[in-house]
Amino acid sequence: MTSTLSPQAVPLIRRLLTFTWITIGIAVLVMVVVGIKYPSILVSTLATGGMWALMAGGLALVFGVMNIPNFAHGEFFMIGSLVAFTVFTPIQEELLKNPSTLLRALGPFPGMIIATLVGAILGVVMEVVLFRPLRRRSRDQWVMNTFLLTAGVSVVLVNGDQLLFGNDFRGITRYWDVPPLELLGVSVSVDRALVFVIALITIAVFSVFLRSTRMGRAMRAVSQDETGAQMAGIDLNRIFMLTLGLSCGLASLAGASLLFMFPSYPSVGVQPLYLAWYVVILAGLGNVQGAVVGAFIVALLQTLTVYFIGVGWVDVLPTAFIIFILLFKPSGLFGSEVKGVWEQ
């Protein structure tokens, strides 16, 4: 979708696709094996993988369309979890007083929806207040400048949250207070199952949007050639607002949905940020499709590391793995181009 191809790309694509399919094939195989022997690992992988797909997809989108490496992306996960907590907690209290099946079923959704909206709006604000003035001043060193800018935003948001709301963990035990489902002899918590479904639906809608709608096409056009897009009458500023809004909205949705797994506290966004970046670098910068697929692979990697080696090694081993991959395939698993300079 948003990956760039050179004219001599056709035979190259064939070669890469083979590599890509082999990788995906291996990952699927591993998942099946793991699923049979350790079904709970597979469940965890799919649940988190779906949400990391949203995070990584959003990050890849912003990088692909606006050429911005968003280092504050994790903080939108944090904002999402914060908003969801704030909205869900009173609902939860209400549920304790007046248990009603309808409320029990629909209760978690307002929090998720509002969180997504808040994230999206803040994303748009960020574009208008920060990136637009920067764009007006200069496009020089754009990637590095925006990288640092977002690093600054990240620091402000994390410490701002700490100052305003304190360091406590604000979490919930579960969203849906129902007994776990029995699927093929495996006990799956409803929260995890629904989170996976939400992720799948969101990914599907997002794909359709990018592929078949006017705005989605415009976004892809901007990511491939800004000048060409302008010549076609596309208002770049509007597309940028849309892009950042979507990206941050997705991150916030992920944070809100995973509230039962990741309680809300100031630096809760650090791990999701790391994972999103990890996926994006592994899959190839700016490649949204690759990011979505790669997210599941990375989730698998992460879950396996946690289960078999230990939580502490969750940063160490994946780093070694990615260095290894980049040695042989500098453009990433699914990426098809490498440039030796900062700017495109």
Binding site: S3, T4, R217, D225, T227, G228, Q230, A232
Partner: protein
């Protein structure tokens, strides 16, 4: 329709145009000629809104469009086919054309214009679903022109359509422009291929070092000694 008055334009560190006066009437086919670096592309880019003028005016249909954003200029009815085409390489021919029609709200009109483009360039219809990045040089030029036509512009700015093309696709490109002209599209063409161009157009300007040095009809300029010496090698 289009009038440039004492236009001075350029980039942050380099001013390129030093007072360009130029006029294109409705329905005309005008060329802008000159050596490399004279400022022909800068002139088109300034009209299209990609470069902001330093001094002077660009007027379209009587109103100044100085500083109007590029996408707005496009919506006003000025199409621009750039020198490096600016196609969307990872999108198909069909999608490139569709995006070209971004500002066209009427679905039926979009389809009608696309039919027109395919009629002009049957090769593009054959390669409808092929990715733009994998097309040949000539096909990409055709696609660029086709995409520029999708919003049915009143004025089309075309920058060096024959650049880098072999003789056959070059002829095809000029043929296409001729047919467009017959359909009533006003065209401002920048070209290096002076001979063919002068035989095709109504009028032409010669730009040298950011200033217009000659102006006249195609025949007049073909017979002009300076043009003959500098550009026709006579």
């Amino acid at each position: 329709m289009l009038e440039l008055t004492d236009l001075e334009s350029g980039y942050e560190l380099l001013q390129v145009l030093w007072g360009v006066n130029l006029r294109v009437e409705e329905g005309e086919f005008v060329a802008l000629l000159g050596p490399n670096g004279a400022g022909k592309t800068t002139t088109l880019r300034t009209i299209a809104g990609l470069v902001k003028p330093i001094r002077g005016t660009v007027a379209f249909r009587g109103r100044s469009i100085n500083g109007v954003a590029a996408h707005e200029v496009s919506r006003m009815g000025i199409g621009y086919v750039s020198e490096n085409l600016n196609l969307f390489p990872a999108m198909s021919v069909y999608e490139n054309l569709l995006v070209g029609a971004y500002a066209v709200r009427d679905r039926a009109q979009q389809l009608a214009t696309m039919e027109l483009v395919f009629e002009l360039f049957p090769r593009l219809q054959e390669r409808r679903n092929q990715l733009a990045g994998t097309l040949s040089g000539g096909e990409r030029k055709m696609l660029a022109i086709g995409r520029g036509l999708m919003p049915s512009p009143a004025l089309l700015l075309v920058d060096e359509p024959s650049l880098g093309l072999a003789p056959i696709p070059t002829l095809a490109a000029f043929e296409a422009l001729k047919r467009l002209r017959e359909r009533g599209v006003t065209i401002l063409l920048v070209e290096q291929n002076v001979n063919t161009t002068l035989r095709l157009v109504d009028r032409a300007y010669v730009l040298e070092q950011g200033r217009v040095v000659l102006e006249g009809t195609g025949e007049q300029l073909l017979g002009n000694p300076h043009v003959q010496e500098a550009y026709l090698g006579i």
